[in-house]
Symmetry: C2
Subunit: 424 residues, 2 copies
Amino acid sequence: MAGVHDEMWEKLNLDLTAHEGLLQVLGKFYGDIYLSQENRLKGMEYMDFVLSEVHGLRIKELQDAKAEGKKIIGTFCVYVPEELVLAANCVQIGLCAGAEVGMESAERLVPRNTCDLIKSFVGFKLSRLCPYLESSDLVVGETTCDGKKKAYEAFATYAPMYVMEIPQTKSEAAKALWRSEVRRFKARLEELTGKAITAEDLARGIDIVNGKRKALQRLSALRAADPAPISGRDSLLINQISFYDDPIRFTTQINALCDELEVRVAAGEGVAPKGTKRVLLSGCPMAVPNWKLPFVVESSGAVIVGEESCIGERNTRDLVPDATGTVDDILDVIADRYMKIDCACFTPNAERPGNILELANRLNADGVIQYTLLFCQPYANEAMRMEPILKDKGIPSLALETGYSMEDIGQLKTRVEAFVETLE
Amino acid sequence: MAGVHDEMWEKLNLDLTAHEGLLQVLGKFYGDIYLSQENRLKGMEYMDFVLSEVHGLRIKELQDAKAEGKKIIGTFCVYVPEELVLAANCVQIGLCAGAEVGMESAERLVPRNTCDLIKSFVGFKLSRLCPYLESSDLVVGETTCDGKKKAYEAFATYAPMYVMEIPQTKSEAAKALWRSEVRRFKARLEELTGKAITAEDLARGIDIVNGKRKALQRLSALRAADPAPISGRDSLLINQISFYDDPIRFTTQINALCDELEVRVAAGEGVAPKGTKRVLLSGCPMAVPNWKLPFVVESSGAVIVGEESCIGERNTRDLVPDATGTVDDILDVIADRYMKIDCACFTPNAERPGNILELANRLNADGVIQYTLLFCQPYANEAMRMEPILKDKGIPSLALETGYSMEDIGQLKTRVEAFVETLE
């Protein structure tokens, strides 16, 4: 594969040697964790292909889009309204943040006690290994946590940063702040493209993103079946890919995959025997290729049936309602949809406990694993809050705090196996 | 001393035995760090007295105020507008957060990777050792960091919490959010006291708090002298006491102490020989009795000439301008004063580098020690940002990350001594 895209990667100023090494490791990792699975869906062939070309053909598409005058908007968070980005005829992509890359150099820019997701995106930049970042005309950060918001200040020296303020409560005044931030973002996009965003543009953007979310909701709903018709790893991968694939093509593929799933569910077939212990993963996002914990869980006799996470339900739960009227009217409807997200950045994050319980119930989960990235204070706190709530409802839970290193994988496996053992 | 206040402490539901132990440790610690100093100001006798009665007479005063119908407002942050609290005829006090108390029980409520200041206030509550907290009718938190805002959610089970949303930028929309938060706080105080706050009430509150700030500004200005007329420990103590003493009495005392300082400065006298290396402490707040680092610095051949901290300059730099007009007009003027605070919770925190340089210059500091509480991501990030800025201006700096434990005191001393050695 290397060689074909070398010229493009060189133009993007990637470190070609290190990048070749990264792709090899990623390929090996993917082979071990994904391709080794039995009884996979035919629809996953598309995902395998997309993943194999994650730094290749998709990046080529971005360069082609740029050549046509489209702008590339890089993001790190489900709070960036893709509806606006699509309305502006731009391409939105999630940036590299899931691999243990350049961590040492990252620690020259952000404190040691920073979560690996943040260190990773800083490390990818300093190591020149993320072609998505290097393709971005604008990188949109947000104030969802101390670690990120302060890291962006340093990151702004290296990337064309733009930061959106996410409020910390859901009061009316906080919502007004967010509505104004959505307007400011629209203006920034218009400045970037030199073209005004119309109500029709917004309607098109809403339609595309809602379509993607509906397809992912359909996938989520099908996972309620026992036997589980798709592995947690594959579902996570699909949600991960939703952040950087072309949204229309992706939606078509996911709907086709859901058709296949429906047949499988009707036939009572699955990826694990009926009665396999069912686990809901809850907490911090898992960016590509952060597949460590899903792999540990699914090689410990359990199957993952849901991701209560930004790369998962938190991104897909809410659609933007049908909106008509002026651009301002529609912007408000979009803004309000994002204010429903139950991110731990809010205090209180009142909706989240109910959402977790509803999801665990709907997906017939036998237990919940609360996953926290080491040094992520918002989710670490909420994991402590959730424990008695889950216990009260008779749902066993296990709280795990870990980073991207593979050093603790044995220890994680021991704890997860013991947990799965207790599930009834 | 114990015995006299036992009945009061028992009424406040303190753990009497543990509390007696705490006071003994505090007394010993104070003796070692404070009373051992030579050439102290006569004005410090008042501070010694206040500190010796920190859980005694001052708590008695709070009970007397409560008996008169006054409400006690506990706080953790310089963002809580004391002007409003005084306007409501309430008493504002800073809550216990500076000692290694109840840390293990705190870790059942907040994550291990939480800074000691937060663990301390949680620990004080769970150990029933803070008579200020137990006297509080309302505890006002704020969203200045992930650790605090999420800890308050758990803390609300144990204390009458009220949380103010501090925005994360200084945009116009963010300022509007803060102005609305100030109004909401006023309404909450009115609800608590059953009495409306008038423009005259606000004017009185502004007058008292400005008076306190002016006295502390006067103290800060006098520290520019060489030889340093007052130790950093004593100045820190004064700033610490400013958070819980009666503001009018305190202001009178500080002005008297400043009179004494002026005489000393005019006579060329000080607490250390002229030419002693001068250090500016910068970063996280040091709550009573967090005197570890000041003690280390001042027993390493240097004198501390300023605290660029919330318990220091960040609290006293800005006055509320004269305000006339309606209650709403005055509330806006108060709100806008607080939005000037250069807290690391803002992104970017644009004013802080200039403020640090101005302070280092004005106080003739030879070097800056950047103090970060372990796991405080906002200040840890800013310490990394400040380093090249200080270097660029030829100001040596040392970044230290530590908690409340005394375990690393030898290591800190080695690093500080080496740093002081390099100062010119």
